[in-house]
Symmetry: C2
Subunit: 480 residues, 2 copies
C-alpha cells in the first residue's frame, strides 16, 4: 500500500509521507497496534532517504498517530474514530428568515456571471496593474522587521494605533476638525456601515438616502428591516426641496449620502448642495452618514471638501472612509470617523463581531501610506482613469441611444435609456458577449428599470468602444 503514494513538489517530502500514513490510519487501513515498516525498509520502498522517513515518523508520533518503541519499531496508536449512524438534518427548515433574505439580496449569486471572453462593465474595482507591488513589498518587509511579532499577534478592536493617527491627520488635511472625534478601523465600508446601522437603528426605523444609491448600503438597510425613503437626484446631488419636505414631515434615524462620484450615477454633489444638505440635517437634528466613496479619485477642478469638514467641532456627521475601493480592495480596510463616545460604543460592537481587523494588513497599509506611496499611486490612477472616463463618456454619447448619461469621473458612468428595459438589453448583450449592471438594483422604490451602470476601470480602452458598440446596436434594434 505504501507504493501508492505519489510524491509531488508542493510540500516537503517527509510531510507528504506523514500525511499519507495518517490517511491510512484515519481510514482504518492501518489499524491499532499494527507495526509500520522500519525506516530503512520504507525508505527503500519510497526511494527516499532513511532520514526522511525518520522525520515523517517523528511527526506522526508528535501528532499522536503512532508510538515509537525503542528497539522494537513504530506502532499505530489507538485512533478512536468509530463512525456512528449518520446525523442528518434538513438545514432548509433550520435556516431563518434573515439568512434567506441575505441570500435573496445577494446580487452576486443572482446576477449574470462573467464568462471567459466576455467584456464586462460590471466591475467598479480598481485596475490591479496600477498597484505598485515593489513599494507594497517594501512596506511589508519594513513593518514585519520592525514589529512582526506584534502585528501577527492579537491587536486592538479600535485598530492599529499608527494607522489611526495617520488617518486622523489625513482627515484633518481634508479640512475636518478632529477634536472630540475618533476613528474605528473596519473591514471596509461594508462593515463600517453595518456597525453604524446596528448601533443607532431599530427594526422599522425610517431613514433617508439618495435614490438610486449604493446597492450594498440598500442591502444592509433592508437586512436591518429599515424603512428606506429615497430622495431623487438632481444633476448636482440630492433634490434639496424633496429632502427638506421629508425631513419636516416625519422622524428619520439618519440621512445616508454618497457625495462624490455617487454610486451608481457618478454625480459629484456640489459644494453649495453639500452645505444645504448639511444644514437641513442639522436643523432637524438628524445624523448624517457620509460615504467617502472614491472621493480621492477627483480628476479635475478644485478640491471639494467632505461634508463633515463643514461641521467644525460638531458631532452630527459620521464619515465612512475606505481606501479599499481604489487601493488594495483585497485587504478590506476602511474606517469610521465620528464622535468619540459613539466610536467607543461602535468599538465594542466591532469586538463582538470579529475582535479586530487584520493587524498585519493595517500595519502594511500604514507603512505604505506613510512613505507617500498613496499620493504617487493616485497621481497615476487619476491620469489613467481620467483618460478612460473621457473615452467612455464620449463613446457612450456617440454609440448608445439614450435619454441621459451621467458621470463626472470616478470608475463608472450611468445610462438612462428612453423607454427600454435595461434587463432586456442585458439579456441580448450577454448573448453577444457584453455584460453590465442593471440599474434597478440601486433604486429604493423599484424604479430605474431603464437604467444601467457601466464600470470601465478594468476594461481596456479598445474594449470600451467595442463593448459600447454592442450595447448601442442592441438598444437601437429594440427601439425599432
Amino acid at each position: 500500500m505504501f507504493r501508492d503514494l505519489n510524491i509531488n513538489n508542493d510540500r516537503p517530502v517527509y510531510l507528504q509521507i506523514k500525511d499519507y500514513i495518517k490517511e491510512l490510519i484515519i481510514k482504518g487501513i492501518l489499524q491499532k497496534d499494527v507495526k509500520l515498516p522500519s525506516t530503512r525498509e520504507l525508505g527503500e520502498i519510497l526511494n527516499v532517504s532513511r532520514n526522511t522517513i525518520i522525520l515523517a515518523y517523528e511527526y506522526l508520533e508528535d501528532e499522536g498517530f503512532i508510538r515509537i518503541v525503542k528497539g522494537r519499531g513504530a506502532f499505530v496508536s489507538d485512533i478512536k474514530i468509530k463512525p456512528q449512524d449518520n446525523f442528518n438534518l434538513s438545514w432548509d427548515e433550520k435556516i431563518n428568515d434573515y439568512a434567506r433574505f441575505a441570500e435573496r439580496l445577494d446580487i452576486i449569486k443572482n446576477e449574470i456571471k462573467w464568462e471567459k471572453g466576455m467584456i464586462s462593465f460590471k466591475s467598479i474595482s480598481p485596475d490591479s496593474s496600477l498597484f505598485d507591488m515593489d513599494e507594497f513589498k517594501k512596506a511589508f518587509l519594513n513593518r514585519i522587521s520592525m514589529e512582526g511579532d506584534k502585528i501577527l499577534n492579537y491587536g486592538y478592536a479600535q485598530g492599529y494605533k499608527p494607522l489611526i493617527e495617520y488617518l486622523l491627520k489625513y482627515m484633518e488635511n481634508k479640512g475636518v476638525d478632529v477634536e472630540g472625534k475618533e476613528i474605528l478601523i473596519t473591514n471596509g465600508f461594508t462593515e463600517g456601515f453595518d456597525i453604524v446601522v446596528s448601533a443607532i437603528t431599530n427594526k422599522g426605523d425610517k431613514i433617508i438616502c439618495e435614490n438610486p444609491t449604493h446597492n450594498t448600503a440598500i442591502k444592509i438597510m433592508k437586512l436591518h428591516e429599515l424603512d428606506i425613503h429615497g430622495v431623487e437626484m438632481d444633476d448636482d446631488g440630492m433634490n434639496i426641496n424633496k429632502l427638506e419636505e421629508k425631513l419636516y414631515k416625519e422622524e428619520f434615524k439618519f440621512v445616508y449620502i454618497v457625495p462624490s462620484y455617487h454610486n451608481p450615477t457618478g454625480i459629484v454633489t456640489s459644494p453649495e448642495k453639500r452645505i444645504e444638505i448639511f444644514n437641513a440635517c442639522r436643523q432637524r437634528g438628524v445624523p448624517l452618514i457620509e460615504d467617502g466613496f472614491n472621493e480621492e479619485l477627483r480628476y479635475s477642478g478644485s478640491h471639494i471638501a467632505p461634508i463633515i469638514s463643514l461641521n467644525g467641532k460638531g458631532n452630527g456627521v459620521i464619515y465612512l472612509g475606505s481606501f479599499s475601493k481604489i487601493l488594495f480592495p483585497g485587504m478590506r480596510i476602511g474606517w469610521i470617523l465620528a464622535d468619540k463616545d459613539l466610536i467607543s460604543v461602535l468599538e465594542s460592537i466591532k469586538r463582538s463581531r470579529n475582535i479586530h481587523t487584520s493587524f498585519l494588513d493595517q500595519a502594511i497599509l500604514y507603512e505604505y501610506l506613510k512613505g507617500g506611496n498613496f499620493e504617487k499611486y493616485l497621481k497615476r490612477a487619476r491620469k489613467e482613469y481620467r483618460e478612460k472616463f473621457e473615452i467612455a463618456y464620449k463613446a457612450a454619447k456617440e454609440l448608445i441611444p439614450c435619454r441621459d448619461i451621467k458621470g463626472e469621473g470616478g470608475l463608472h458612468i450611468f445610462v438612462e435609456l428612453r423607454d427600454i428595459n435595461a434587463r432586456d438589453v442585458l439579456f441580448e448583450c450577454c448573448k453577444n458577449g457584453v455584460i453590465f449592471t442593471p440599474g434597478d438594483i440601486f433604486y429604493t422604490d423599484g424604479k430605474g428599470k431603464n437604467t444601467f451602470r457601466l464600470g470601465f476601470s478594468r476594461v481596456s480602452k479598445d474594449e470600451i468602444i467595442k463593448g459600447f458598440k454592442v450595447i448601442g446596436d442592441v438598444v437601437r434594434k429594440m427601439e425599432g
Copy 2:
C-alpha cells in the same frame, strides 16, 4: 509662515511641503487666488532643491488645491469649506439597546487592565517569539510575486480557493468525510460563530452549552438574545445525563461545545464522551456546533478526532476552526466546515457583513501552510507549551490553596478556590502586580465566583512561579 514647517524623516520631503501648504489653504491662512512663492524662492526659504518644490506644487495642483498658470505662477484654488453652525447631537440618546448591551458585555473595557511591570495571566494568546518570521516573509514574497495583483484586488466571499482546498484536505486528515460539505473562511472563530448563530436562531431560542464556556461565545449568544442553558462539566467533558435530560425536556436550536482544552477549564472531552454527546444530539435532531479551539495543541497521548469525524457523510455537525488562536492571531483567519447548502447561505451573510476576509492574509497563510511550516511550528510550540503547562500545573498545585485545579495542556489552567471570591483575590493580587481572569465571566448562570483562569502562554517560567506565589499568599491570607 513657510519657515514654520519642520521637515522630518518620516515621509518624502515634497509630500511634507505639499501637506503643509494644504493645511494653510484648508485653514484659510492662504486664501483663494493668493499667489504662492515661486519654486526657486520657496526652495531657498526651506533650504531644499527647487525640484522638490516643483514636485510639491505638482501634487497640490493634482489634488485641486492650487492652479499653476504658465509664466505667472501658482495660485490658491477656491476651496469651499465655509464652516457652518456646528451640528451637535446627543449620541447617548441615539444609541440603541443592542449597542449598549455590546458595550456592557465588552470585558476588555470592564476588566482590570495590565500595567507595566505586572505579571498577567489573563492572556491565552500565543507567544509571538515562537512565530517563524523568515518563513512567513518567504510565504508573503512568494505569493505576492505569483499573484499580487489578484490577491490585492476584490476576492470571493467564500474565501481564497487554494486555502479552502487546503483546509478541506486538512480536515480530511482529521478523519472528516468532506463529501457534501464546504468551507467558508471567516475573520476568526468569533465571526464564524456570529454568522452561524445569525443564520439559525431567532430571539428567545433555547440553546445548550457547557457551563462554564468560552466567554466570547456567551457574549455573542447574549447579543442574539438567546436563552442559554449551561450543562455542568465532568472531568471528561459535559455531564451526559444532564445533557440528555435537557434535550428530552425542551426544544433547543443547537448544542455548542469546546471539546479540546476547553476554555476555561482546560478539559479535553474523552473519545467516549464525544460519541455520547454526538449521539444524544443526533437522536434529538439538534445541530451540534463544535468549536475546534486549540485542538492542534495536543501535547501527549493518541490523537483524538473531532466530533464531526464521527458523522461520515452526515450534515448535523458544524465545525468552527481557527488557526488564529495559536498561529498569527493578528491575521484573524478561521473557517466554518458544514453542510454545503448551509455554507452557501452563510456565504451570503458573510458578504453582506464585510464582502470577504482579507485575500492577502488568506494567500500568505495558504503559502505558509502548504510549505509544511505549520507542522514545524506546532512541533516547537507543543514542546514549549508542554513545558510551561507542566510547570504551571505543578506550581499551582503547590502554591495556591484550592479545591481543584483543572487543565490537561493547552495554554491555561483553571482554579477552583474553596469558598473565596476570586474577584476579591484579584483585587488584592492586582495591588501586588499580578492579574488573571476571574472565572465568573465564563459561567452561564452567575456561578463560578470562586474560580479563575490562569493563562501562561506569554509568561516566562520564572514569572509563572513568582506570580502563583503572590496568588497563593493572597488566598492563604483570605482563608485566614
